[in-house]
Symmetry: C2
């Protein structure tokens, strides 16, 4: 071994002076005149350390502004104290509410949340799930994107707990929390029928989205039970699309007298179009939507909607996940929790209430 490599070897062992790097537990131990384990124990608190030692450790920590390296701790130990949250997007109020609720629950458990969006794309969803796994999250909360395309399976996740919500995936071994999409839709369409409507159109996004399809099913059921013809359009992604669609419908001999929109985005765009067309709601055309939102009471007119318990659903999903994490369970057959929805009767359906009236979907 020549001179150079000796130097190199020595250099390797000579750590840079403390000033230039973050203090480690070792630095604390040295300053406190104890071993690293005493520091570890003093800080984690789940083991006995003499009061004297503890004092000196704490003082050293203070002095050095020591901060434990959570990364090292996660790496060393079995859990990272973080969960992953995979959502279609954060731009929509519904998903934002979900994210808020999940992060709240996580904090209550002392967990961090790593968040990512898929843009409703299954390939992105899969890639992000893999990345979460690489990050060794202790569990995952997922709002899956497209039902059929989704490649999210227990096999992918191994023994990492996963709870899906709002929309399920095909694999029944993953827990899922849902709302009564079909029953709620059916009920609100029945309400429209009670108002005397016979031509009710359903405006949805892609049918490959579980919720959009489930809501369609409720709509169809109500229509068929009443002996009415269904009239559903999917792919209502933009205001322009809806404008075209509506114009065509109005010019046809039999325009719909009511619209049922599949979610907030469609509701908003439809209302925009109707307003720009100068139509009166509900006299020219009635409008009801799935999913309530902040401004639904101050739109013109106030909107009748199916209200889903977004907050409760998200909390239920997150709580279930922490149950799984705590117990170390990865069930063969996952739980399937279905939460009830409400119908909020305002004025866009034709009701005259001056304040909203809430009824249960199974009334």
């Amino acid at each position: 071994m020549n001179r150079n490599s000796l130097q190199a070897r020595v250099r390797q062992h000579a750590r840079p002076p403390l000033v230039h790097r973050k203090p480690t537990m070792c630095d604390v131990a040295r300053l406190a005149g104890v071993g690293t384990m005493t520091v570890s124990r003093a800080l984690s608190g789940n083991s006995y350390v003499s009061t004297a030692s503890k004092q000196r450790v704490l003082r050293a920590v203070e002095q050095l502004k020591y901060r434990p390296n959570e990364l090292a701790r996660a790496f060393r130990g079995q859990c990272s104290h973080s969960i992953g949250l995979i959502l279609p997007c954060l731009n929509e109020a519904f998903f934002a509410t979900c994210a808020h609720a999940v992060t709240s629950v996580a904090r209550e458990h002392g967990y961090s949340v790593i968040i990512t969006t898929t843009g409703e794309d299954s390939a992105t969803e899969y890639a992000e799930a893999e990345r979460m796994l690489e990050l060794h999250v202790d569990g995952l909360v997922v709002i899956p994107s497209r039902f059929r395309q989704s490649r999210l399976t227990r096999n992918l996740f191994g023994k990492t707990p996963v709870v899906t919500f709002d929309r399920p995936v095909a694999d029944p071994s993953l827990d899922v929390v849902l709302v009564q999409n079909t029953a709620g839709s059916r009920r609100i369409v029945e309400h429209l029928i009670e108002h005397g409507h016979k031509r009710i159109a359903y405006l949805g996004l892609s049918r490959s989205l579980f919720t959009i399809n489930a809501r369609f099913l409720g709509y169809r059921r109500a229509m068929q039970d009443a002996g009415l013809e269904t009239d559903a359009t999917f792919g209502c992604e933009t205001e322009a699309f809806i404008a075209d669609l509506l114009k065509k419908k109005l010019e046809s001999g039999q325009p719909p007298s009511a619209l049922f929109t599949s979610n907030t985005k469609v509701t908003r765009n439809a209302l925009n179009v109707i307003t720009h067309l100068g139509l009166n709601v509900p006299n020219d055309i009635a409008l009801v939507g799935f999913d309530d939102f902040d401004m639904a009471e101050v739109t013109s007119p106030p909107l009748t909607v199916v209200r889903q318990p977004a907050h409760e659903m998200s909390r239920a999903a997150a709580s279930l996940l922490f149950d799984r994490i705590t117990r170390g369970e990865t069930p063969h057959i996952g739980n399937r929790i279905v939460l009830p929805v409400e119908i909020v009767l305002r004025n866009s359906c034709g009701c005259k209430h001056s304040a909203p009236v809430v009824i249960h979907s199974d009334n």
Copy 2:
């Protein structure tokens, strides 16, 4: 050393069989018949490996379903490939939009984002910032909560890059991206004055929020320049509070003829109250707000607002952060980027436009 401890020692070295744990690079190396470094190099791609070796490694990876441990990689290397995002909350559309934009930029850079909310509480904010530091994020994007109480300083963050946006903190060494809160507010209040309003009330949240205060300043400036008396109320957190306030104002001899609300939450609540009171906007009382929102065009009436470029601001903040991360800079004096806002004239101010008219705040 007795028999038991010998067994223990042996047990320590005998790793559990591969089936019961995630495969490591070592397993891949063994299966491929190469060294771990060859695997590392083959996978990271930034070093030369013979095509033959690479093939065998890739096959072994496939076979074992090996997934690199990002935690170990982050721990070992200098960067974690994750950034932190600290927000007041995710329930409000504005913040959700910010979160969406930041996560998008992060993904473009191959980064994960760890998200957390403060609930506008400075102590939580500080604690969460510390936690982010413990997690060794490579950088932080923060929407600080209360300006004066904030304890976020360069000193706390050390050499971890931090970009604040929407609201600044006191420490000038942290980068900040803002919008023209004051100029925008001033301009929209001037517009109200041009409509002939003389008694214009400002409804805000806490003045300890930078934006709320900056918007108040713009309001006050416009009023004073026009020789009008200011009438500002802070703490308009709930609909009930606003209802009380408005009733009192209406019963007074000199009720305001127009309202300027400080952000979407206040705007919504005020509109709710006004609607329930049966008042006509803008004839009985005009209403303009800061921050545009999805439904602003279909409220009754469509609302005139200051529109801020939430998306652009967030992207700018995130991009600046990645600049800092890439260059390893932690400047003494941070950048201060101020983005322009627009006034969107709809009908709640008294304008008769059937479609919104957009003007710049400095027109």
